[in-house]
């Protein structure tokens, strides 16, 4: 059990959980979409780290489980697409609102 507790898998997993908690708090508190996009990205980082901890725990023959790693890479690419899409809409929305004198 002690050996288990000192393994990096738990440390990084716990940090992932902490980042998720912080990201959630920030996401719910911020009203501006830009800050929400930031918070969402940081939250995503926590989720990925959680997956990474599982990959580390499933390590087999000296290397981490490749399946969660592939999932994280996919997740990162989805995140950057989401960020780009959200920013494109938010930016255009702000231009439209300014244009209408808002």
């Amino acid at each position: 059990m002690i050996a288990e507790l000192s393994s990096p898998f738990l440390l990084y997993g716990a940090v992932g959980c902490l980042l998720i908690g912080m990201g959630l708090y920030s996401l719910a508190l911020h009203t501006h979409v830009y800050r929400r996009i930031l918070a969402w990205n940081a939250l995503g980082g926590g989720v990925f780290l959680f997956l990474g901890a599982i990959a580390k725990r499933n390590a087999y023959g000296g290397s981490s489980d490749p399946l969660p790693q592939a999932l994280v890479i996919t997740g990162i690419v989805v995140s950057v697409s989401a960020t780009a899409l959200a920013l494109a809409i938010a930016r255009r929305l702000q231009t439209e609102e300014r244009g209408n004198g808002a």
């Binding site: 940090v15 930031l38 990959a55 499933n58 023959g61 938010a90």
Partner: protein, 323 residues
Amino acid sequence: MRDRIEIYDVLLVVTLIGAAWRALFGKDAFSATVFFIVYGLLMAMAWVQLDAIDVALAEACVGAGLTGALLIGAVRQFERAPGARALRRTMGLRASIGALSLLALAGLTASLFEIENRRSPVPPLVERSLGDSGSAHPVTAMLLNFRAFDTWLEIGVLLIASLAAISIHRLYDPSPIEGRASTAPTRPRLQIQSQTQPWIMARTLLPLLILVGGAMLWFGSHAPGGAFQSGALIGAAGILLQIAGGRSALRLSSLRTRSLLSLGFSSFWLMAAGALLAGGRILEYPPASAGAAILALEAAATLSIALTLNVMYACSRPWGPEP
């Protein structure tokens, strides 16, 4: 391969949390963005500690690098908005959201410790199948062979997101001239100013980025690296050019741009249909030609990803002429 926490891990983790804190709760939107990029880079170092070099590269190139570029490109437009600076919620709401977040945190951490140490059947299966997968590197085999369908859909996500960005840009562009409307965000109003810092930087870094990107693609078949990291690096070269104000060949509505954007997605489609015609299943490659199939898919995907990221960056910059 280490199995114990060392002092370095603790330091890294503490800095990571600190950077995340500043990114999430800092007052100023611009410095929050900078801390977010720092957070991304530290995250890449954390991935190294978890023996996930591919993820570390992807996080550094895509997560911190490109997301960072997108955010930095956009932040100037938002930072003066009142809500972008500080939290504007009442104390009661803060407390209740905080309590909920803490609850989620506690539940998650508890599950992390409770997760049974049941052996996943996947890593041994990977080891057994790696020889027939066409790649000596397990993560590449996972992305381009075992779970290639995921990767195809993910490239579809990138494609749809870039089409969306283009469509929003074109539809809402108030410019009355059709021809200009379609190219406005990427065509710089200024010629290259050869003595500016961005240009000097671009000139130095450009060949390097493309070289490293190409190498990463090539080595990806047997070592960490691959289409996404390589595409991100080559894409970064284009973005640097955009920052430097170089005349970009990007025409959002041209057939060439559309073909190149969809090249990765189309290649996967052809590979899926080709496998069917050859009597196999969707995206099933014979072991003998799997290596070539993977390399072809990765090369096509790299080009598409590089262009997609450029389009996304161009569409996320503040509208109007660049200074």
